[in-house]
Amino acid sequence: MGEWKRVLLDPKRLFLLALMALLCAGLFVLSLLDEITPTELGRMASANAYVDRCVEEWRGRPYDEMEALTEAEHQRLGDVFDWYLGASYEEMRISSEEEAIAAVADLPEMVRWIKARDTREFIRTYTTYWDAMAELKSEMIYLSGYEDYLESVQSQAERQSQTSLFGKEGSFTRRNLAKTAEDFKSLLGVEVEFGNSRGLLNWLDYETGDYFHLLAIIIIVLAFLEERKKGLWPAVRATQGGRLRMGVIRMGILLAGSVIATVLFSVLPLLLSMSIHGGWGDLARSLQSVERFRTCPLRLTVMEWLVRFFAVKVLSGVLIGLLIWFVLGVISNPQFSISVLGTLLAVEYGLYAFLPVQSALNMLKYFNIFAYVHTSALYTEYLNVDLFGFPIGIRILALCGMAGFGLLFGALVLNTQRNRRPEGNRDVLSRIALPVNRALDRVRSRLTVAGWEGYKALIFQYGVLLMALVVLATGGLNYLYATVTSEDRWYEAYLDDMEGPISEATDDYIVKARKSAADNDELLYALDRVERRVETLRQRAEEGGYSPWIVDDYDYQIGFGDMSLNTQRFNAAAAVMLTALLVAPLWAFERQAGVTPMLRSAPGGRRKLFRRKALTAALLSVFVWGCVYVREMFFVAQYDSRIFATLTASVRNLDALASFPLALTFGQYLAILYVLRLVMLIGVGETALAVSLFCPNVRVSYVIVAVLLGLPALLTALGVGFFRWVSPLVPVASAELLWGLGGGSLICLLPWLVWLAVGVGALWIARRIWCKGN
């Protein structure tokens, strides 16, 4: 019982698991939102209530009738949208605010933004309702055609098996056709029903929960190896129950741990998703009623599938745990064992994520640790892989593999637990390690102090793994800052067409456009606005002494202006947190190793070492900057390349930047923006470095920099206003400050100056303490 209590009831571990559960739930909610604001949360809740109501009202009706109802809903939303944006055409159904409000009286968020006349929020709300209805429509189309789909699978298999194009008799292709038809035969006659699937679908999309599950398993397995770290292994091994019996007990703990992890990171997000989206009553439907399970050949209800899925999830956790336990347990050198495990996981992830389904090696994709991490894919994807010419379903393959590998790793783990000794084991790896170390020493002997600092950061402090994490984490950032919906399509279309320097050609264009617009009031109205705009720009440019350009405000608004505020902040928060975590171990590692007195006694161990540490922190910050902001540049280049056509224009051509205090082109403006972000991020890195100097070990350093720098940034991004004053987030994001300067507000300079002072000040204090003594 002692071991159970030690592992499962350890306060630190319990706290960590509880924190992870909260984070997992929080990230799930965030994954449902386009922006992280209370407004967005309210909008999501309102859209969900709207869908719930429609589902309840329409349930049981024929599919064609339901499809017509969704179209009517789209029509209703579209009418209000057209009216709001000032469209004018003959069939306009709405002509006043009263009529618009009456038309969407049951949609409180729409009414709210109509009344507030907030175009941005109105468009976003409209899009949310529209998309929700589109999802329902897509589900109806799927359900109405499912029976035909099943029949088509059978007839297609029959047809294809009669032609030599699909292989000879006895070939994998022919057998695969027959197996597919056979698998789907069992589904013939299955009754699919319309219902609310959003809760289930959003939960299935949330893969982060699977990684939390994996992390929890790793935490539990690491608890088994604590005795080695604390030097208690010989003592534990010398006790009566310290060998095989301990191994068996720990297997039980691993199973219990996997159950707990499944509850925290799979069941709870599902419950959360269901409570947000409704859908409790629809669990008795057949599994295929949910479009994602279209190709799942199991004849089950959703509820039955969930029970089976959770059981598989628990067993997957045990299997992964046994594998990790075996690798970490059999290799005595902790750093080497972690490196082996890291490499193994990286290779497996690479195969899982990047191997094409059609590849001849696709078995490695599904016979893979990550197939056991993302267990839901085994049910939502139908695929037979070629096993010596015979088609085997990936689900069956993975489940059989689970049993086989479970037994194998279970036996290996017990064998290690029983026979592995704290000292004097036959160490095959050390024979390999020696020549490897010899070769590495030859390379390392050429490293300068800066090279050594980089090496320590990347290898000894697991910087490489953290950097891989940074690449993965920043890959999930959102750069599509705002809903790309024009407020006035014709006006925007003309501006798009005319974008460039204002010249006589501009006037010619307007004249020609007027001719072709003929009597179209809508086009003429838009052209009037264009003409006024051209005039304003000319006048402003003359006064300011720069060349007038037509530049689409909207492109810059959604890229770098107010419309992208929340996403800019969220991305900056991620950049701040990741930079802080990457830099956190730099000094703390030295304290943890206990080498500081020795380092400080060497002639290059003070100022020189300090400068090299600062350089390493800066380079790590540059890396994060590259992952977040260079990626953003690529995104902008790819999706909004028109911005690059205006790089030579003055920023003052943009309304929002009309009062910008410096005469800059857009190219210079963007260069300054990205350089500012880089400088601020380096400032964050140097601040984290300074904090790290005061931390006794790496773990404490991670916690402190996360709390001091990362957490306030995340809270600011989540909308907790107070923290914007104590976090480097706003100066790192920079866009809103630079945009604010465009409005002539010089106070926007303050956050940059303050955080620059903080970074420089922290570095100065740290330098003084390290170089000058205590």
Binding site: N333, Q335, A433, L434, N437, R438, L440, D441, R444, S445, L447, T448, V449, W452, K456, I459, F460, A593, G594, V595, T596, P597, M598, L599, R600, S601, A602, P603, G604, G605, R606, R607, K608, L609, G773, N774
Partner: protein
């Protein structure tokens, strides 16, 4: 060459770790004897400027070491008492890293790394991770790094802790050889470490210098009616007599 400590004082709150400590070191081996907490390590930390002094001065050839800064550290070799070491590095890697910090380069760096590893008897294990070493082997790695740069002032804090008798004898002989033209301060509470090699012995208690003399003179200073603990009068008797422990 001389290292002069004048009225050196260090306090930790109410506790005086080192009080009014005055001494001049010239080339030779100085054994610093004292119980745990006597102030031996504090003294070495003050000389390495790892601890800030509260009073007094440390002069190397007449100039304060704080003023000399890196110039002083360039002629300093320090082996700390705590076995602080990068467990992930190989012995050669660690010594090479320290050599870089001691501003050694190119062929000179490689030659010195080879030499100190050989002196510390680490040749056979130079490519093994320090984390897999026994306490004695780690101690030798720390000694090896202290010898880099041919230091004129060598500070060794408990250099033989954890070493087996054979290794201790070897290291002692080696330190004796090193002492030519160097100031070697050897802090320990193991009397036999310094009995045969120290030119001078400093007896410390509660942060103060109780007595300083050659081992022979100290032994002679013990009264004749003192009953030797090992049958013949030795430094252990000096330790017990003067330090009362």
């Amino acid at each position: 060459m001389q290292l002069e400590l004048k009225n050196l004082t260090k306090r930790y709150g109410e506790l005086t770790a080192l009080g009014d400590f005055t001494i001049t070191f010239t080339p030779g081996i100085y054994g610093i004897l004292g119980a745990n907490g006597a102030g031996k390590s504090t003294l070495l930390s003050l000389i390495t400027d790892n601890v800030k002094r509260d009073g007094g001065s440390i002069l190397f050839d007449g100039t304060d070491i704080l003023k000399l800064g890196d110039e002083f550290r360039a002629i300093l070799g320090y082996m700390p008492q705590q076995q602080g070491i990068y467990e992930q590095m190989t012995a050669e890697g660690f010594v090479t890293y320290m050599a870089r910090l001691k501003r050694l380069k190119g062929k000179e760096l490689r030659a010195q790394v080879d030499e100190v590893l050989s002196l510390a008897n680490l040749d056979d294990v130079r490519h093994k991770k320090v984390g897999s070493f026994s306490g004695g082997m780690k101690q030798r790695v720390l000694l090896a790094q202290a010898l880099l740069g041919d230091p004129s002032v060598l500070l060794l804090d408990e250099p033989t802790a954890g070493l087996d008798p054979k290794e201790r004898v070897r290291i002692r002989g080696f330190i004796k050889e090193l002492a030519k033209d160097r100031i070697v301060l050897l802090a320990t509470h193991i009397v036999t470490d310094i009995e045969t090699i120290a030119d001078q012995v400093l007896l410390m208690k509660d942060g103060r210098l109780v007595r300083e003399d050659t081992p022979q003179a100290l032994i002679a200073a013990v009264p004749e009616d003192w009953e030797p603990v090992t049958g013949r009068m030795s430094l252990e008797d000096v330790y017990l007599y003067f330090l009362g422990e």
